[in-house]
């Protein structure tokens, strides 16, 4: 079988380049917007994802981790009584008001009170043990280095948080918050900063002996009671709840869908026009083949195969473009999140663009009427 579709693509690549570029840029736009949205909303769940525990205990019905309320201390006992649980640690959440230099005014901040022990669970992935140990000093804080300009201080300097003086002992990365600044302190410092607030922690975090059993153990530990005063989730469930809440609370989810539609439309218009032009340019050749007995179905398959290859080339190009943009974003501390499901969804959408365009181009083949060659 003569590989007409592929040979034509290779020989007349300039003709098909716009289609492949349209597909590549569509793919990049889809993936980058998805990565940005997931990156931004991932930071809403940074407390969970940067920590090592598999079980989170918090106020029943909490939709997003930043909406936590204090829970009774006996939850900790209940956790420790379960033989699956290896370690339990409180996590304190305090809303704060930061005053750095006079020019910057006040900044709304989220204070996370964590256990500064070297084997502490919360933020274990974001704060190395040596830095973590420095939180033992009263009034010591750690922030993301990207937040320094907002707070207006450098490491070693101090600022006023909820009316009390605190000292920046170090910075790290991967702690950026959504709609404010994350400030990490020890539980003791957080207690002092929690002026007039409920002294009980908002969450307990537990590490299991077998991390794979998180969902099962969470179900076992949850009181399942209408009057329960706390609820138990696996870390991934709470993270998903949080991201879901932000996606829809902010309307960003709808934005993603809308943008995807626009990208799909633009990609399809450019790709189909290019393919139609290519078919129209070879219409006499297709008509001759039809005169010689090749069916319209066979000719349509040639066009669809071309669309498929344009899509594959576009996917590869889009993949390279996306990787470059996302690496650039990452190097600039712009939060980006890529999931296999996200990449797959983008790839499917992009192939959808090309195949839909191919179908539109196939309609141009109706002009391949061999009788016209004799007029």
């Amino acid at each position: 079988m003569v590989a007409l579709a592929r040979k034509t693509l290779v020989y007349e690549w300039r003709r098909y380049l716009p289609a492949s570029l349209a597909v590549a840029f569509s793919g990049m736009l889809l993936l980058v917007q998805l990565a940005l949205v997931f990156g931004i909303f991932d930071s809403a769940a940074v407390y969970i994802n940067a920590s090592r525990g598999q079980i989170w205990v918090g106020y029943p019905g909490t939709q997003s981790i930043d909406l936590g309320r204090s829970i009774p201390r006996d939850a900790q006992m209940r956790l420790l009584m379960n033989p699956q649980v290896a370690q339990v640690e409180p996590f304190q959440w305090v809303n704060g008001d930061w005053r750095g230099s006079r020019q910057l005014g006040s900044v709304s901040v989220f204070v996370s009170g964590i256990d500064p022990a070297p084997d502490g669970l919360v933020f274990a992935r974001a704060i190395p043990p040596a830095l973590r140990a420095r939180l033992e000093e009263p009034g010591a804080i750690i922030v993301d280095r990207a937040d320094l300009p907002k707070l207006g201080i450098q490491v070693g300097q101090s600022g006023i948080l909820n009316g009390q003086r605190v000292y920046l002992v170090g910075t790290t990365s991967g702690l950026r918050a959504l709609g404010g600044v994350n400030i990490v302190t020890s539980l003791a410092t957080a207690e002092q900063l929690n002026v007039g607030g409920d002294p009980r922690p908002a969450y307990y975090v537990a590490r299991l002996r077998d991390p794979a059993r998180a969902a099962v153990v969470a179900a076992q530990l949850d009181p399942h009671d209408r009057q329960r005063r706390y609820a138990v989730w696996s870390a991934s469930t709470l993270a998903a709840r949080t991201i879901h809440y932000w996606l829809f609370e902010t309307g960003a989810g709808l934005g993603v869908v809308f943008m995807s539609l626009v990208v799909f439309l633009v990609g399809t218009v450019i790709t189909s026009q290019t393919l139609m032009g290519a078919v129209a340019g070879s219409i006499s050749e297709y008509a001759t083949l039809n005169a010689l007995g090749a069916s319209h179905g066979a000719l349509s398959r040639v066009v669809m195969e071309q669309a498929g290859w344009v899509g594959v080339a576009g996917l590869l190009g889009g993949g390279v473009l996306s990787a470059m943009v996302l690496l650039l974003a990452h190097s600039q501390d712009v939060p980006v999140g890529i999931t296999v499901a996200g990449v797959t969804a983008c790839a499917v959408l992009v192939m959808g663009i090309t195949l839909f365009s191919g179908m539109l181009a196939v309609r141009t083949l109706r002009n391949a009427d061999p009788a016209r060659l004799l007029r």
Binding site: K7, Y11, E285, T288, G293, A294, S295, A371, L374, R375
Partner: protein, 241 residues
């Protein structure tokens, strides 16, 4: 003699309507075309020769009349059956060579063969033989851009011949060619009729062709005015117009 008649057209009529003006292009025309001969439809442009060619070859449906090709009533076949009939029995050569720019000569010829469901080896063998027959064995791996006009037309003829059609239709095959190339093309078409017993029906206003045709049908205003047999060894043909 009757067994040599490949195509029998009876009472063929065709009009084209542009806006409100309807033009009668073919008028009550009946014609038989024989196998093993090069038959030439000649006449001024607009005389209806290309339209007649399209109707006899199963590309353009007539308003009236019938076409029997190889014993089959062509215009009673549905679209798919007609396509299949063309695939198995009919070859075409057009004025524009209509070669795919991306394919070399062998691939141009192999392409329609691939729809016949022949094996890869048989396809290749037939393609090489057809190119050999038109004297282009040495141009096998060249693309259209590297070939002259005459060579392109010879590739197009090889593409039509490789299917081994019983019926070969050619529309102005020499009009775009210089005299030497045109002569070569005529010789190839003539040889195809003689050697393979193919019916070759050629529409052309090129006067050079007349001397080489076994039979010339002179057309004007949608009718056959004259039916001339040339002193080549005849194999039988009639018009009943």
């Amino acid at each position: 003699m009757v067994e040599h008649v490949a195509i029998r057209g009876r009472g063929i009529g065709k009009s084209f309507t542009v806006g409100k003006v309807s033009t009668r292009v073919i008028d009550e025309l009946s014609v038989d075309v024989a196998s093993g001969e090069l038959t030439l439809l000649s006449g001024p442009s607009g005389c209806g020769k290309s339209t007649l060619l399209a109707i006899l070859s199963g590309l353009e449906r007539p308003d009236a009349g019938s076409v029997e090709a190889l014993g089959e009533q062509v215009w009673l076949l549905d679209r798919k059956a007609l396509q299949r009939f063309r695939l198995h029995h009919i070859g075409f050569v057009f004025q524009g060579f209509n070669l795919f720019p991306a394919l070399n000569s062998v691939e141009q010829v192999e392409l329609p063969l691939s729809y016949l469901g022949l094996g890869a080896e048989e396809t290749r063998r037939r393609a090489w033989a057809a190119l050999d027959e038109v004297g282009l064995a040495h141009r096998r791996h060249m693309r259209p851009a590297e070939l002259s006009g005459g060579e392109k037309q010879r590739v197009a003829i090889a593409r039509a011949l490789a299917k081994r059609p019983q019926l070969l239709f050619a529309d102005e095959p020499t009009s775009a060619l210089d005299s030497v190339s045109g002569q070569t093309v005529i010789d190839i078409l003539h040889r195809a009729a003689r050697v393979h017993g193919t019916m070759v029906l050629c529409a052309s206003h090129d006067p050079r062709l007349i001397a080489h045709a076994d039979r010339v049908l002179r057309m004007e205003d949608g009718r056959v005015l004259a039916d001339e047999h040339h002193p080549h060894p005849p194999m039988g043909a009639h018009t009943t117009s």
